[in-house]
Amino acid sequence: MSEDVKKFLYLNRKAPYGTIYALEALEVVLIGAAFDQDVSLAFLDDGVFQLTKGQDTKEIGVKNFSPTFRALGDYEVTKLYVEKESLDERGLSADDLQEIMYEDEDDDWAEKPSIHIVSRAEMADLIADQDVVLSF
C-alpha cells in the first residue's frame, strides 16, 4: 500500500430516517470512494439499523436510501463491519440485514459478502487501526 493511502473509517452510530446523519454519511462515502483510500465502514449502536432489509419509506414520504448500500461494491467500498453486541441488544441477527456483495477482482471476480459481523473487541481494534475516523 502506497504511503499516500490512508485508512479512513466511517463510524455509523445513528439510525436512519429519524435524522439525516446516516444519509449524509453515505453521500460522503460515495464521493470519498474516488480518492483511492483504504476505506472501511463501521456500524455499531443504532447504526446497525441502517442495514436492515425490507425498508419501505413510501408512507413517511422520505427517500429510501438503503438500496445504495448494495451499490457500494461498484465503488470499491467492500468492507462493512457490523458489531454483534449492537445487533444482539436490538434483537437483530445477521439474517435481518441486507445482503451486500462485491466482486473480488483479485479472485477472478468471485462474489463475496461485504458485511462482516465483528465482536465489540474487534470493533475496538478496527477503530484503533485507522488514520482518519469520520463520525456520523
Binding site: K14, A15, P16, Y17, G18, T19, D45, D46, F49, T52, K53, G54, Q55, D56, T57, K58, E59, I60, V62, N64, S66, E89, R90, G91, D96
Partner: protein
C-alpha cells in the same frame, strides 16, 4: 382525563422512552414515532421495561415509521398496536393532552 405521550427517540441510545413510561399514568397512551419505533419489537434489551407497563398504559407504534425502518409488524411486542397517521390524530383527539418526550 388522560394523556397521549409521544416518544421519537431510539430507546437504545436515549432515555426518553424509559422516562416517559415512568411518568405515564394508568389509562394514558404512549405512541412511539420516528426513531422511537425501535422500542416496539420483542426480544430487545428494552422490551421488558415496556412490556411491564403495557397493561395499565396503552402502547402504540406508528406503522409508517415501522415500515420505513424495515421492522416487521409481526415481531412487535404483544399488546403493542400499530396505527397510521389517521390513528395518531384519533389518539390525540381522544386524550385530553399530548406530551412530547423530546
Amino acid at each position: 382525563m388522560s394523556t397521549l405521550h409521544t416518544v421519537n427517540k431510539s430507546p437504545f441510545t436515549n432515555q426518553s422512552l424509559l422516562s416517559c413510561i415512568a411518568h405515564a399514568k394508568a389509562g394514558d397512551a404512549v405512541l412511539m414515532i420516528e426513531d422511537g419505533v425501535y422500542g416496539a419489537p420483542a426480544g430487545t434489551a428494552v422490551a421488558d421495561a415496556l412490556a411491564a407497563r403495557a397493561g395499565e398504559v396503552s402502547i402504540y407504534v406508528l406503522g409508517p415509521d415501522l415500515a420505513a425502518r424495515g421492522l416487521d409488524a409481526g415481531r412487535i411486542l404483544d399488546g403493542v398496536n400499530a396505527v397510521d397517521y389517521a390513528g395518531f390524530v384519533d389518539l390525540a383527539a381522544k386524550h385530553d393532552r399530548a406530551v412530547a418526550w423530546l
